[in-house]
């Protein structure tokens, strides 16, 4: 059972991959699905490894990520 969960707002994501570069658990990965604006959006490669550290959301300039953590 994952300790954390990250919710991706695909409408707000612009595919800069900053979150991918900082996630310590390699949860996030460059996706190939585009949103309505034509930006590729981030995807989850290893959702079960998420520890809910929140680093990805701190780094995302566009507030596209919301992080939840096991209490």
């Amino acid at each position: 059972m994952a300790k954390g969960y990250v919710e991706i707002n695909k409408k707000a994501c612009k595919g800069c991959w900053y979150c991918v570069s900082v996630c310590p658990k390699k949860v996030l990965a460059e996706g190939d699905e585009a949103n309505a604006k034509g930006f590729l959006t981030v995807t989850k490669a290893n959702p079960d490894d998420c520890i809910g550290c929140g680093i990805c959301a701190l780094m995302c300039p566009d507030s596209a990520l919301t992080v939840f953590k096991e209490d």
Binding site: G4, K11, A12, C13, S21, I55, L58, P61, S63, V67
Partner: protein
């Protein structure tokens, strides 16, 4: 039970999807920090800001703070007047380098010299982003822009201008810092500097100034991640980070 640990700041409106900044543009990051700080300090519904001219205007329509857009470069003069008329309102300007350091140099320096009780958020990406990548006063030596196709050369185009250092020669300003958002540690430091700058205004200490070293992946011709490396490896050598003054 999963508990939500991150929050979208109240000032950021994502209903229409994303803002109009290019992917990876750190304008989004500095706007986010400003918005988070307004929330944290309970200033969200007590604030108004002056919007510079240039790429920073891409935030219009996605930011839920009262905004005045003024003629190019005049942000500090307008903000200083607003603060005098509405002393209980928290007043900021948000300006890029073409706006604040080129056409707005006079207004910026005189506002700083008067010690206007405002907070200036200055986003320096070393280029005119919106108009297509021309030379700015802050452009690095050797950097190619559409108006310096062979690179900026000191003999012809002068040297990069350092706004924190210039303002730091004046008596009145109370807080001056330079930050960046290239990595989580620097984002945390930037959050602290913006908080401190806001506190200076709340304490009535006068002019507070935070410079964000930013990027322009579009006109630098880089991917967003390459532009972060460029800041770390090249730009910060010209523009060192730190708190220059904290009265």
């Amino acid at each position: 039970m999963m508990k939500q640990i991150t929050k979208i700041p109240a000032a950021i409106d994502l209903e229409k999807g994303s803002n109009d900044f290019c992917p990876g543009c750190l304008h989004s990051a500095s706007f986010k920090i400003v918005s988070q700080t307004l929330d944290e300090m309970g200033l969200f519904d007590k604030s108004a800001y002056v919007q510079g001219v240039g790429c920073c205007a891409n935030a219009l329509g996605y930011i839920r703070i009262d905004t005045i857009a003024c003629p190019h470069g005049r942000g500090c003069a307008v903000a200083g007047a607003m603060k005098r008329c509405m002393p209980d309102t928290f007043i900021m300007t948000y300006q890029g380098d073409g706006d604040l350091a080129a056409i707005g140099m006079a207004e910026t320096m005189h506002s700083a010299n008067r010690g206007d009780n405002i907070t200036v958020i200055f986003v320096n990406n070393g280029i005119y982003g919106m108009t297509g990548g021309q030379l700015a006063p802050t452009t690095l030596l050797g950097a190619r822009t559409t108006t310096t196709p062979f690179g900026r050369n000191a003999n012809e185009h002068g040297y990069p201008m350092h706004m924190c250092e210039l303002i730091n020669t004046l008596e009145a300003p109370s807080y001056i810092a330079r930050v960046t958002c290239t990595d989580p540690a620097n984002i945390r430091k930037a959050q602290k500097c913006v908080r401190d700058a806001f506190q200076h205004q709340l304490d009535g200490k006068g002019f507070s100034f935070v410079e964000f070293i930013s990027n322009c992946p579009t006109n630098w011709g880089m991917t967003p991640l390459q532009s972060l490396d460029h800041i770390k490896n090249v730009v910060l050598n010209e523009y060192p980070l730190g708190v220059f003054r904290d009265k």
